[in-house]
Amino acid sequence: MKVGVYGFLSSIHLTLFLLTAGVLLILFGTLDQVQYGIYFTQQKYFEHVFVVWNYPQQWLWGEKLDWLQIPLPGGYLIGPLLVINLACAHFRYFRPSWKKAGIPLIHAGIILLLLGQLWTQLQQKEYFLWLGEGESKNYVESFHYDEFVLVEIAEGDTRRVHSWETRDLNELGKVLHNDGLPFSIEVLWFARNAAIFPRPPMQPESFPEMPFNRGIGAERDLVVLPQRPTFAEGERNATSAIVRLKDGETEIGTWLVSNLFRSDPPMREHFPIQSFEHGGRQWQLALRFKRMYLPAQIELADFRHDRYPGTEIPYNFSSTVRIREPGTKGRETLIYMNHPLRYAGLTFYQASFADNDTKSMFQVVHNPARWVPYVACALTTLGLVVQFLVSLFVHGRKRRAPGAAAGPEPSSRGPEGPTPRRGRAFQAAILSALILGAGLLLLRHLQPPGYPAGWDLDRFARLPVQEGGRIKPIDTVARTTLMMISGKQSYSEAGGKRVNAPEWFAELVLDPRTAARRAVFRIDHPDLVGLLGFHNEERKYFSMEEIAPHFESLQEQFRQLPEEPRLWNPFQKALGKLRGSLALYDRSASILVPPPFFGNARETYTMLERVREDAASPEEGENAANALNLFRAQFARLAATAHVQAVPPLPGHGAGGWQSLGDSLLATVDSGSLDPVPAAWADLSSAWQEKDSVRFKYSLERLENLYRNRTGERAEKTGFEYFFNTFTPFGAAMELYILILIAAAFSWMGWTRVLARAAFWILVVAFAVHTFGLGARIYIQERPPVTNLYSSAIFVSWAAIPICLYLERRYLNGIAAAAAAVMGFTTLIIAHHLSFSGDTMEMMRAVLDSNFWLATHVPTVTIGYSATFLAGLLGAIHILRWNLPGGIDPQTGKAISGMVYGAVCFALLFSYVGTVLGGIWADQSWGRFWGWDPKENGALMIVLWNAIILHARWAKVAGTTGLMQLAVAGNIITAWSWFGTNMLGVGLHSYGFMDAAFLWLVAFIASQVAIILLGYRRRHP
């Protein structure tokens, strides 16, 4: 077959290859960021025609496999070829019609996006500006480039700067000239990275003689040695050179220059500016960060770093800067997170801070092509929406056309019932039984938790406290604490009695001595169990009373833990976890009443009052003062370790102002008046310890009144949050999903219609419960649905369920319901495991504190994940059912194929729009649309992969099974983008390496690969 150049360039096979190569390039480019950082990797992968990926030495069998290299086409090959391919394909194949109205827009948008990216890569420059309060500068410095400069200081301190790029220094022996320079510069030595140190007095001869004879190098007898360049994020190479200055043939001197010799503190103190005199003029020479001068002086007037009360979580970083242009008074502006300053074609955004919040760093971006992605993305999104709507319209018209099938007949195998009438009754009975089962299951969750009779612990659990900057019921604190210590929200006593978190917590805070007997500390590692003296023990839960005698040996082990948790072995991980649990237990025990310094809390307060009275008398003054200092020290320790603030401000004290018990008692030591809240907690504690339920109720009522008067509307949601906690909607939804899966799986063996219908209706109920849970979180947090990894797990399955409901309603074959059930159950299990690390409704960090973008970009991109997962899951169901005895009937196969195609179209639309919105957020906040951050790359991989699936189907490269296999591979890419990219420890979306999650991710990927391979086993006829 003869294929011309035009035919090749316009081929859809070329499109497929380029998209696949793009996915591989982005994947390897993301993996390499761990070693080489984002900047270098971006240059290596996306600004080259060809790239070579090396197997990293630190990977498994790295020393044996380090020869392995994978050559890839780079960004400069894939991008232009894609533009050419798209343009050629468009002109060759496209025939205008209203059914394809969106296609030209999509293609034009993509071509513009690719060209815009190329323009950006060529033109975008990134700088930084460090300013201390009161300091001003009229230049910004490059993050990555250096320059060699000679500064001529003329009369009146006017300066003329002669500068050269460092690439001019790279050629040894090169002589640099410049107009107006009375001398030439010869480069004797250059290193991209170097170590500079004073010549050691011991064995000075073991280091080479240095050729410089002037400047800091000669004065301090410095030695300079070349080093391997570093690519680590946040580190900079110490670029250095030795240069000789000559006036004609006469040497003026030889200097060592380095970007380490900087004019900003603390380097200025170590390395003053190097200067010399020549020809009656003063000169300075330096190798420094490349500068770009601004048309104005930028002065930092004020920097603020605000945290949520009682936490270290920042909610605001802001800098007030003054811009002073020559001849003007200047103006003041505020730069804060997500609100950069755009000035002189540059975007200044708040990037960092130092020196006790007195120094602020701005990242400064120059990107002349920043408008291009907006136009490109608007075109593509418009095209996708038009095409999607046209397809829907055409599809709907086909279905409504006279003579068209009323929809696919549900496939059925096995008996539908003996006779129509008896069968209908039987079906109704099954349907009713299953829906009744679902109802009972829900009722079980709606039941109030069981507490000991007469103690009103539900009222105790509803009382508000402040933790992590948020006002929440004690119930939430109790559940989170027990979850972190024991991995559950309840525990079982030796007799089998189940104790809920609030009951355990009440005992912990009101009577810690008794609580110490409860076996709540989960210890999984047998060596650690042995260290506590429990050999051959099969249990995993231990009490404080059992652990306390081994504190000394434990402390010794804790001291030996390496600082970097990433390096911990399984035993050390268990130790680290126990250390965290013990600290949390200890802190939690004294958030409401102080530790029993003198008997119980009541007696402690009485003693404090007496000591204060004694301090006022001349006889006891000194002793009492010492005793007061002891109280002060104890309460200060309480205040320093407190993570919960339980004392609300007095009415009329405005927002905030909650105090921890320690802070409140410290105030009592000084003022002498005990706040009624700690006093009431002390009464409650003694009533609990003395098992006086009547006094307990009375004290509780007093506390309720105090909290009601002081908190007012601010704590109005705690009652609802308590209901949300006890209802556990996600737990209920998980149980319903299991029921749906069972019904759907049985529907494939027989009674297809009735069981599929039951699965559908239970799915409606599960969706309602899941939606309630999601809505409740939105109401409590006052935030959009996805704010962290936990909420993304909940949202991913929720977003897929409406699609599944539509598909199940249409096909009624149990497949979409089964997919929804598997997805719902799995993601809620993932969410459950993510909740072990603490409150899942934590406050938003400053950088994410933007409800607009959280409500648009994040849910949209998560819906993209969701639809891609759904397509993959349907593909997996197809492959698995095909391989089961009996296979899959052609009608069901066709139905699943249609579902997968629809889900992929949906996924492409949402993942593209979501990614674009993310880019716009990045541009609005940081002045750049795309930064090759691992998470951004992951989102792009999903977009490309969905495009591959659609093109493979259009090109008929993939048949039905091929389509399913590609959809399953989409699961791997989505899982990688969702979790894998967070584990790299690189970029803005890095949440740290989660080794347990890493193993699960590997297992998931292996399972998906196995399903893909299974697809090769049997083919569609």
């Binding site: 400069y76 090769y1016 083919r1019």
Partner: protein, 85 residues
């Protein structure tokens, strides 16, 4: 064994497409290898990357080529047997 039966037994026609892609990667590797051998890689800047371990690259490209040709070779092998039968 008929073609359909063999296909059912697991010889995937579509498996040759990823194989072809691997061969394209191997060809890219050879281009990089040649550029490095002739000293073009260092000077070309943004076209060919300089490679330190040329033997490793040669072995890797060979491996990619072999892996890439495997599905097509298997198909060819079965086709030959089929026509002989």
């Amino acid at each position: 064994m008929s073609t359909n039966k063999r296909k059912e037994a697991g010889i995937a026609e579509e498996a040759t497409t990823p194989g072809l892609y691997l061969i394209v990667l191997a060809v890219s590797g050879w281009l990089i290898l040649i550029a490095n051998l002739f000293g073009v890689a260092g000077r070309s800047g943004w076209i060919f990357p300089p490679v330190e371990d040329l033997a490793g690259l040669a072995m890797s490209t060979l491996l990619l080529a072999i892996l890439g040709m495997t599905p097509a070779a298997l198909r060819h092998l079965f086709k030959g047997k089929d026509s002989a039968a």
